[in-house]
Symmetry: C2
Subunit: 154 residues, 2 copies
Amino acid sequence: MDQEQKEYFMNEALKEAKLAFDAGEIPIGCVLVYKGKIIGRGHNLRQASQQAIDHAEILAISQANRQLASWRLAGCQLFVTLEPCPMCAGAILNARIDEVYYGAADLKAGVAGTLMNLLNDGRFNHQAYIEKGILEDKCLGILQTFFKQVRKEK
Amino acid sequence: MDQEQKEYFMNEALKEAKLAFDAGEIPIGCVLVYKGKIIGRGHNLRQASQQAIDHAEILAISQANRQLASWRLAGCQLFVTLEPCPMCAGAILNARIDEVYYGAADLKAGVAGTLMNLLNDGRFNHQAYIEKGILEDKCLGILQTFFKQVRKEK
């Protein structure tokens, strides 16, 4: 996949993040791509749904599983605006996703290179290729704008 | 919680594992307890649902979130027949579950003490108390019976 394509799909993940932002949720978005087409989309919904598991990646994976009628997402690329947390990294392993592209690093909970790297640990039965920093400024920017606004409202 | 109570709730998790067994799924079960009552139950459903995320713990957490109308499960105890994988350990952290009791260790993917310990890593914003080996023989036994049967059928 060339850089233009990567940025195209990360922009789609950013559209999802914007939907979260507009709903007052921490703005994180994700899309899942299979053979050049988006087959799963998701954005953080935790406050609206009050479901601890409703992170962008989990919702996108769940939709992609329905689309392919399979729990296996081999051959898929995942694009997410923020580095995955342990739950989402684990879901990526469980779904056998091959490639993970993320925008901003998560210094507090990121486990695709920041605090540790669960996606490249040979003890698990799957590993994923990781590329970080795709549209990093935009992905970080929407989060910073959100938290600035939250602090102002307090 | 005394040993008798712990075994009572692990037996309930085993009942869930049995439901998975009867459905031809890898037999793992989970219950979530709040103030002495079960508020979430789940068993592995991956083959039936073709959802990579449908592990016992995820389904029990999701049900408990609905029951309490909150993504926060502080004050809850989770009982699961097999040591959590990265996804489920991450969901336990995300839901702020305080106590985790498991039956059998998972030598291939267990991250509550076996391959690593995600539930006691001070870099994350939550840690959980862990106790392993509750009704271990029964929890391991149902898995061994299942895999013996699968091998026979092949």
